[in-house]
């Protein structure tokens, strides 16, 4: 398995630089009215997309998943998959309610 695989110091710094820039972008973008410019929810979408990308980088490089066995990949993916199940099936109720009450 992981015979000390990693991206070395430059690699780590590179990932860090990416995370840094992404954080700045998140912040700046949050102050723009993307909802008005594009479509409602655009702000949310962008913010979450950036967060997701950041997470992916941390998981792959800082947490070395990039070099791990399929099993570890499976563990990572299933964690998020289950989370998605919880979101999807809960919302499936809320979003299909009639508006009586709330």
């Amino acid at each position: 398995m992981s015979e000390h695989q990693h991206i070395g110091i430059p690699g780590y710094l590179g990932v860090f630089a990416f995370l840094f820039i992404a954080t700045v972008i998140t912040y700046v973008v949050a102050l723009q009215d993307l909802d008005g410019m594009f479509f409602p929810g655009a702000n949310t979408l962008v913010a979450l997309a950036i967060a997701f990308t950041k997470m992916t980088f941390v998981v792959l490089f800082f947490m070395h998943v990039r070099w791990q066995s399929r099993l570890i990949w499976l563990a990572v993916v299933s964690g998020f998959f289950w989370l998605a199940i919880m979101f999807a099936y809960t919302l499936q109720d809320y979003l299909t309610r009639s508006v009586i009450g709330y």
């Binding site: 099993l71 299933s78 964690g79 289950w82 199940i85 919880m86 099936y89 809960t90 499936q92 109720d93 809320y94 299909t96 309610r97 009639s98 009450g101 709330y102």
Partner: protein, 559 residues
């Protein structure tokens, strides 16, 4: 097969071997042990205490329901009694029962490991269980809870005057015990298998525990956080579940059932694992459709997460959601069906013994069948609208939980008793009590189906008179059931004193656990076994010396 033989002779009748029980007698050697077998024994004792307590509550419930009026217990106490019965039975008995006792004891042995991957975490999980259980018992002594085991809001957050926080805390803490057990099992199954023990040579018991562990890992944290939110809301009197504060009680139900439906599979899957072992071994035949049983466990674990909304059909969730959850509920029933059919097919052309564990297994088949099929009634959304929150549900879940899991647990305890203690129990009393449990059980809970369809709501301290006759049957059955459950306690404990010595392999079975001494030594095997045979193979390749055993069987304890 030399390695097999060398394993098989755990009983080189020479010096009394040191086994895990005789390896240190001080209290400290128990409390600080890292041996999974000792931890399992401590779990066995603790779980039994909770079972007896839960059983006493059950007795009180049944006594109160003998008459329509609420006379033995006034409604406040009755509410506490059934709540505590549910909480104790579910969280402190049924969920830990098979995994933490039988799984803990046997899983490492069955895969040929020295111990679980993380023995200290295993011990920690026991301590967490004790702390959680202790807190709950403390809360009960302070006055108990009356919210129902489901803790529905806003009653639990705002209206109940009972010890919701304390019990919630107990359940919350206990959850981590279950998470850690699951974690240990997953890792152990992945990394600790003996040479030659491939995935498809694993006993189905191990597969079942693997599937269970998945549910424990992915489900339990959700109920933990939910109960935490509930406690914080109760503490601060603001929050997200009480509509008076702008919250939403249905969100609580979603979060609660996201765990608690999969939790029913935490309860049943290990028992199904036990049944696979029992049916195959006591028919002395390879299990029919090994892969299908193995994968159906995983399928149940995964799809079990998609159906929680079937507990909320009338809760006010959207009609659309109700339909989707109903559909998925039907889909999860299929893997269970596959298992039932495979078990039945396994008996075909077997050589079936009538020993106690097998009686329990047959009992399981019948009762789980009824419990599962009535689950379909409940999953069929149009029908549930009528029967939900009635005794139909009560009957359903006792059929699966008692008829399924408890019977599987008892069968397993009998089956592995010689391994765990080195002593044979009394076969005569074993059979008697198995029959009593079966009869008493049906008498108790079958009438409740009828009551339920007639419309008797659950959690009622007093009920209209027209329901009394069936309730009398139910209470009578519970008495028989109670006797059936007490008996094993007596004769099993008795066997420790005067039971016959069991020998490493009293039934001459191929599983790895039967290839080491009874009770096993601390590190399970004298030498790491090398597995060269398929699971449940009784033929040539299993290396069992049948002729020798036959010759000996004239003096064998099972004769």
């Amino acid at each position: 097969m030399e390695n097999v033989d060398s394993i098989n002779t755990g009983e080189d009748k020479g010096e009394e071997q040191v086994n895990y029980l005789t390896n240190g007698f001080s209290i400290k050697s128990w409390l600080l042990t890292k041996d999974h077998k000792r931890i399992a024994i401590m779990y066995l004792i603790s779980v039994s205490v909770f079972f007896v307590l839960g059983g006493i509550y059950a007795g009180l419930i049944r006594l109160e329901l003998l008459t329509p009026a609420s006379d033995l217990l006034e409604s406040g106490s009755y509410n506490k009694v059934f709540t505590q019965h549910g909480v104790i039975m579910v969280f402190f008995y049924l969920i830990p029962a098979i995994p933490a006792v039988l799984g803990n004891f046997l899983l490492p042995i069955m895969i040929g490991a020295k111990d679980l991957a993380f023995p200290r975490i295993n011990l920690l999980s026991l301590y967490i269980y004790w702390v959680g259980g202790g807190l709950t018992l403390f809360a009960l002594m302070q006055g108990g809870v009356d919210t129902g085991w489901t803790f529905y809001t806003p009653y639990s957050t705002t209206f109940s005057n009972s010890f919701v926080m304390l019990v919630g805390l107990g359940v919350f803490i206990n959850g981590f015990s279950s998470i850690l057990t699951g974690l240990n099992f997953i890792v152990t199954t992945h990394t600790m298998r003996a040479p030659g023990m491939t995935w498809f040579r694993l006993p189905l018991f191990v597969w079942a525990h693997y599937a269970t562990s998945l549910v424990m890992i992915l489900g339990t944290p959700v109920v933990a956080i939910t109960i935490l939110l509930l406690a914080v809301e109760r503490l601060t009197q603001t929050g997200i579940f009480d509509p008076a504060l702008g919250g939403d009680p249905i969100l609580f139900q979603h979060l609660f059932w996201f765990y608690s439906h999969p939790a029913v599979y935490i309860m049943i899957l290990p028992s199904m694992g036990v049944i696979s072992e029992l049916i195959s071994n006591f028919s002395r035949k390879k299990i029919f459709g090994y892969e299908f049983i193995a994968f159906s466990s995983i399928a149940i674990a995964v799809f079990g997460f998609l159906v929680w909304g079937h507990h909320m059909f009338v809760s006010g969730q959207s009609i659309y959601a109700g339909l989707v959850f109903s559909f998925l509920t039907m889909v999860v029933a299929v893997p269970s069906a596959i298992k039932v059919f495979n078990w039945t097919a396994t008996m075909y052309k077997g050589s079936i013994s009538y020993d106690t564990p097998m009686l329990y297994a047959i009992g399981f088949l019948g009762l789980f069948l009824i419990g599962g099929l009535t689950g379909l009634f409940l999953g069929s959304v149009g029908l549930t609208v009528h029967v939900t929150d009635t005794y139909f549900v009560v009957a359903h879940f006792h059929y699966v939980m008692v008829g399924g899991t408890v019977l599987g647990y008892l069968g397993g305890i009998h089956y592995w008793w010689p391994k765990m203690t080195g002593k044979m129990y009394s076969e005569f009393w074993g059979r008697i009590s198995a029959m009593l449990v079966f009869i008493g059980f049906n008498l108790t809970f079958f009438p409740q189906f009828i009551l339920g369809y007639q419309g008797m709501p659950r959690r009622y301290a007093a009920y209209p008179e027209e329901f009394q006759v069936l309730n009398i049957f139910s209470t009578a059955g519970a008495s028989v059931l109670g006797i059936g459950m007490i008996l094993p306690v007596i004769y099993l404990v008795g066997s420790l004193i005067n039971g016959k010595s069991a020998g490493p392999n009293p039934w001459l079975l191929p599983g790895l656990e039967w290839r080491t001494a009874s009770p096993p030594p601390t590190f399970n095997f004298e030498k790491t076994p090398v597995v060269t045979w398929e699971a449940y193979s009784f033929g040539e390749d299993s290396g069992l010396d049948i002729d020798e055993a036959r010759r000996e069987s004239r003096v064998s304890p099972t004769a």
